[in-house]
């Protein structure tokens, strides 16, 4: 037997662009911030807008994260996701109105306790509602995208009308808790306290989700299921049950997002969920369907973009996010971090 010919592959050092490519989505956020810094004349305005954009992005992320997993895991398109945002806001804000003595007092811990109660209540209500929604509306239409779109939109309309029945047709105005009103001054920039709290909650939710997805077996099942559900079942896991769990968790997160969004806008309406759906869909699409990281980065991009553009050229604010989506899809047609393989 003769020896095989010498095989000495040479490996070229990867170019800078190649080494940066995997981190491109994160770098995009940094890039957008730098662009903003250049375009916006005063640094303090830039800082205010950046915090505001990050806060908005965090809230959109919280609302959108459930939707991206629901799609990734079971290929279900849920246009009714906004219903959980609205219901979460109404339940949460109602609780805050009941706890007026706590929110009106200028004590931070009383305010935060009241917010905690509102958030837990809203998440419990929307989680329960998510369970019912999955059973009644989503379950019968597995595997049929058109039916899913129609029936989940119908579900959203029903929920909107139910809100009007229960809470009346008027929009409800709400004051933020006393200690979260106003702003702190940092480096000459006014940073609204509430937005800082929203950023904090967003980071906690993102890290918690990452931890669950990376460090627990249920998280492994979810990540594997997004990629190849059939194989997960062949290993012996009941993906249907996991999916219902994800649907409930996603609904509860949308409810949390609803409370935060309501306090951010200081007004809630039955249609607020429907209105946020556009932003939620943009974020889920540019992030890459099924990707929590992509959703997070996408949400921050959308939040920053919206705030910068609204400041620089208010008329363009409405289309800036659509423009962002088009640009990203031209660059990466499956979204920034695609995880769902073509089915």
């Amino acid at each position: 037997m003769s020896a095989a010919p010498q095989h000495n592959p040479t490996m070229a050092r990867m170019s800078l662009a190649e080494r940066l490519a995997p981190h491109a989505p994160v770098l995009l956020i940094v890039g957008l911030m730098i662009l903003g810094l250049i375009a916006i004349p005063s640094t303090s305005s830039w800082l205010t807008l950046t915090v505001s954009g990050l806060a908005m992005g965090m809230m959109i992320f919280i609302m959108a994260s459930g939707l991206t997993l629901v799609f990734g895991l079971m290929d279900v398109i849920n246009f009714g996701h906004g219903a959980f945002v609205s219901v979460g806001a109404f339940v949460g804000i109602s609780l805050l109105l009941v706890l007026e003595q706590m929110t009106g007092a200028p004590a931070l811990w009383l305010n935060l306790t009241a917010m905690m109660v509102a958030i837990v209540g809203a998440m419990a209500a929307t989680g329960l509602m998510g369970w019912a929604f999955e059973r009644v509306i989503v379950k019968p239409v597995y595997g049929h995208h058109l039916k899913q779109i129609l029936v989940t939109m119908g579900g959203l309309i029903v929920v909107e009308q139910l809100i009007i029945v229960l809470w009346g047709p008027e929009e409800i105005f709400i004051n933020r808790p006393e200690a979260l009103k106003g702003a702190i001054t940092f480096a000459g920039a006014a940073l609204e306290k509430y937005r800082l709290v929203a950023v904090g909650i967003g980071i906690v939710v993102f890290l918690a989700m990452r931890w669950v997805l990376r460090r627990t077996k249920i998280g492994l099942i979810v990540r594997a299921g997004v990629e190849n559900g059939e194989m997960v079942e062949a290993l012996g896991y009941r993906l249907r049950l996991v999916f219902v769990g994800v649907f409930i968790a996603g609904s509860a997160l949308a409810g949390l997002g609803g409370v935060l969004w309501g306090l951010y806008q200081e007004v809630i309406t039955a249609q607020m969920g429907n209105h946020t759906m556009i932003l939620i869909f943009i974020v889920v699409i540019i992030g890459g369907l099924g990707s929590v990281e992509g959703c997070f980065i996408g949400a921050l991009l959308v939040g920053l973009m919206q705030n910068y553009v609204a400041f620089l050229e208010p008329k363009l604010a409405l289309i800036s996010n659509i423009g962002l989506m088009v640009a990203i899809l031209m660059w990466r047609p499956m979204g920034m971090i695609p995880v769902v393989k073509a089915k």
Binding site: L220, A224, E227, E230, M231, E233, A234, L235, R238, V339
Partner: protein, 240 residues
């Protein structure tokens, strides 16, 4: 062939309007390697997918250890102790090798003795333990998918073309791994196009054509009868 671990009786499976399996009868004895052979497109993969429940039999019965599993959902079938290695390998490419293995250990944490043994069979797994499975080579992916099925002792292994598209050196690693599994007394139903591997591993053989089983017998008999091979599979395998 008394008391087989798995038997199929008159199984018919349709995929959309296509009648893929047209009455398959099959018996898989305990503690032996049963080959499922035949040309491309005769229904071998569909047979495995019907057993694990990815496709549903429209008629007929699938009996696992005497229990009718024809209508059971896939996870329940798997939990009975059936390990499935699909043709497309079905690895989770975004997960690390370790995470793939953790997931495959359905009933609890990974048994470290068994893992050590798997590392000796597939050393590459240890080397790339923390790497994303998507970055492995084709052969390493195939090793991962077999190791995944082997991480817990299963009562039956369904393995679909484990050597497909692999380099010769890796095929021999794969064959050695399957041999180890066989030596432990595992029951295996193996689809394999590589006739040399089939001959080396198989105890009994079943040949399919047009959605039916057309021949069954000792693998030895099929391996030594070139005319039979030619007739059943259109093969012309050189002797030796």
């Amino acid at each position: 062939m008394s008391d087989p671990i798995l038997s199929l009786r008159g199984v018919r499976t349709n995929i959309a309007q296509y009648h893929i399996l047209q009455g398959v009868d099959l018996e898989v004895p305990r503690g032996a390697v049963t080959m499922l052979l035949g040309r491309n497109g005769v229904g071998k993969t569909t047979t495995l997918r019907t057993i694990i429940g990815h496709w549903r039999a429209h008629e007929g019965q699938v009996l696992f250890d005497g229990q009718d599993i024809t209508r059971l959902p896939t996870p329940a079938i798997a939990r009975l102790g059936i390990g499935f290695v699909p043709e497309d390998m079905g690895i989770f490419s975004d997960l690390s090798v370790e995470e793939n293995m953790v997931l495959a250990a359905v009933s609890g944490p990974i048994d470290s003795t068994r893992l050590e043994w798997l590392f000796t069979v597939f050393p590459a797994l240890e080397t790339f333990w923390k790497k994303e499975a998507g970055t492995l080579s084709g052969g390493q992916k195939q090793m991962l998918t077999i190791a995944r099925a082997m991480i817990e002792e299963r009562r039956l292994y369904l393995i679909d073309e484990p050597t497909k598209g692999l380099a010769p050196a890796i095929i021999s690693t794969m064959a050695r791994a399957l041999r180890e599994l066989k030596d432990q007394g595992a029951s295996i139903l193996l689809v394999e196009q590589n006739f040399a591997v089939a001959r080396a591993l198989g105890d009994s053989a079943n040949v399919m054509d047009d959605g039916r089983r057309v021949w069954s017998g000792r693998m030895q008999q099929l391996a030594t009868d070139a005319a039979l091979q030619e007739r059943l599979m259109g093969l012309s395998v050189e002797a030796g």
